[in-house]
């Protein structure tokens, strides 16, 4: 059964000048995780805001948990949890006060709200900071508390809008493990991110969006295979480049590409590690010293690049160390 369906959503701003959503279609199978991947301004947040009943689209149709988002928003709010880009909690209050307050607003009894607050603080390793004001929390702790607040009623469908944007690597890792545990419990999750490795890590299925439209959809492997197979990447000293390239071209049987600045030679390969071993053997004979050598599968960066013709974000292949936007 489909837990989330969005059909042909259109949302424009400033009298149609800015198209935030331009006929967006989506569906998410119950109990699975869909990662919406796209750069800033591609429509990720607008999509979430429409599905979470915060924003009315100009046209289109959407259901969440089988309930019509436009016709019955209040019933949708009973089954969803939303955690946005910025920790939407009261900073002057303590973690405890916040969770009890939101519990009361979900119409739990005072005792139930307190019990649930305790449970969530424990689950998210915040119990020691429960009685401290949120403004003393680290970025990662705030996000966890924000996520906890969206889980008070054990929502069937959870929306996480860029849950790790602005977090440091450690905060991000912690957030990932928290989200992975949630997914194990069977919640349907729609997650937006501009971090390619985040979608890779957390999502069963990925929808790449650009300019308010889904431009590709599939598992991480499916998307990567659209771009092509494995590549051999070798870095050598500058005066070895020419002879190294000859060896690589001969072994792989394809035309290699040289990045002179990085002194990197890369070539597509078909038989994987066999080619790698053969190249190393011939380098040895030719007395070429490889400074770095690796088999690379295409990253989602490459996928995004080949789908949209522009990069998803400032590139760095180290993954978790990259950071975009200030921490809020």
């Amino acid at each position: 059964m489909k837990s989330i369906i969005a059909e042909n959503l259109v949302k424009t701003y400033r009298n149609g000048e800015v198209k935030a959503l331009d006929g967006l279609n989506l569906d998410v199978e119950e109990g699975t995780v869909l990662g919406i991947l796209g750069p800033n301004g591609s429509g990720k947040t607008t999509t979430v805001r429409v599905l979470a009943t915060l924003l009315k689209p100009d046209s289109g149709h959407a259901t969440v948990g089988g309930i019509d988002v436009l016709k019955n928003p209040k019933a949708v709010r009973e089954i969803i949890g939303l955690s946005g880009q910025y920790a939407a909690v009261d900073e002057t209050l303590t973690g405890w006060d916040n969770l009890v307050m939101f519990g009361r607003l979900y119409h739990l009894s005072s005792a139930d709200a307190k019990a649930r607050a305790h449970e969530l603080l424990q689950q998210f390793s915040l119990i020691d900071s429960a009685k401290r004001p949120i403004k003393t929390y680290s970025g990662g702790m705030r996000r966890r508390l924000d996520l906890a607040a969206s889980l008070i009623i054990r929502p069937k469908v959870l929306f996480l809008d860029e849950p790790t944007t602005g977090l440091d690597p450690r905060g991000r890792m912690e957030m990932w493990s928290v989200i992975e545990n949630l997914v194990k419990e069977g919640v349907t999750l729609l997650l937006t991110t501009q971090y390619l490795e985040e979608a890779d890590q957390l999502a069963d299925d990925i929808a790449v969006i650009d300019r308010g439209k889904v431009i590709a959809r599939g598992t991480s492997d499916e998307l990567k295979s659209q771009v092509g197979g494995e590549r051999l990447e070798i870095i050598v000293a500058e005066n070895d480049i020419k002879s190294a390239q000859e060896i690589i071209d001969r072994v792989t049987g394809s035309k290699s590409f040289i990045d002179m600045g990085l002194r990197k030679i890369s070539a597509p390969v078909k038989d994987g590690s066999q080619s790698l071993i053969e190249v190393v053997r011939q380098f040895d004979t030719a007395k070429i010293h490889a400074l770095d050598l690796a088999m690379k599968r295409p990253s989602l960066d490459d996928v995004f690049m080949s789908l949209t013709g522009h990069a998803a974000e400032e590139v760095s292949t180290e993954g978790v160390s990259k950071k975009k936007g200030g921490s809020k």
């Binding site: 709010r77 939303l82 910025y86 009361r104």
Partner: protein, 264 residues
């Protein structure tokens, strides 16, 4: 009833904020008390010939001024919630959409009670002696609270349309400061230039000040002619003003709040 209990959860949140950041309450109280002392001793001489002295005239004026200034705090608090994305969370909850703003108007009303009590005590210490009896005095305070409540809806609207919480407090102050001074609150309107006398005559603050003075046993005519309707019937006219303010700003605020998701 559920809408009301949701609103009360929000009100409770505001009280918790006051406990966490007691400075807010302290400064909200110090400022009006300071005004009481300053005006009482700096302008005390203006009261020559007034039975009981200038302070009898001053206290109702400063009460009305203080509840008027609360509007800025209401606006700022709401604007902060908008900035921090807290409004999105509230709007994604299965609660009445009015709960957040209604809860805040209640909370600011409670703050007004505390501030008015402290000011009343300060006034008493410096010689304010209302002569009308406990019932009328209580009526006066209730009317002040209701006036503050009506105005807080203007604050709600200002907060909802604001783009920056730091700016909205200043802008609100730019409106409320002249509003409270272009009135009979601190000085007789007859000494003003003629055009300003008309402004003061129809300024809701003047009417309200006159109403409260009347309830505290001090009849005070004001305005160009001193027999205009606001001057003759300040209590009735004040209620009319309050209902007009609410009739304008409640629907505007509700409309704006429902469209708060549209901002980008």
């Amino acid at each position: 009833m559920r809408g009301l209990s949701d609103a009360l959860v929000i009100t409770k949140r505001q009280l918790q904020q006051l406990i966490r950041v007691p400075e807010v309450l302290i400064f909200n109280t110090i400022q009006p008390v300071m005004f009481v002392l300053l005006f009482r001793y700096v302008f005390g001489g203006l009261g020559a010939g007034i039975p009981g002295g200038y302070v009898q005239l001053l206290m109702p004026g400063i009460f009305v001024q203080t509840v008027t200034f609360t509007l800025a705090a209401t606006a700022q608090g709401l604007a902060q919630d908008m900035e921090k994305g807290l409004i999105d969370r509230f709007r994604s909850l299965p609660i009445a959409r009015s709960a957040l703003v209604v809860g805040r108007t209640f909370g600011d009303g409670l703050l007004n009670i505390v501030v008015l009590v402290v000011m009343g005590i300060a006034g008493f210490i410096v010689g304010w002696r209302p002569t009308s009896g406990v019932l009328k005095i209580t009526e006066g305070f209730l009317m002040l609270l209701f006036f503050g409540y009506a105005l807080s809806w203007a604050g709600i609207f200002a907060g909802l349309i604001s783009k920056d919480s730091r700016v909205v407090a200043n802008v609100s102050f730019l409106f409320t400061f002249p509003l409270t001074f272009l009135s009979n609150a601190f000085a007789s309107t007859t000494s003003m230039p003629k055009p300003l006398q008309y402004v003061a005559e129809w300024n809701p603050v003047s009417t309200m000040v006159a109403a409260v003075r009347q309830l505290y046993g001090f009849h005070n005519k004001f305005g160009v002619t001193a027999n205009s309707y606001p001057s003759q019937h300040p209590i009735t006219m004040s209620f009319i003003y309050m209902f007009v303010v609410m009739a304008i700003f409640i629907p505007l605020s509700v409309r704006r709040y429902n469209r708060a998701g549209d901002r980008k």
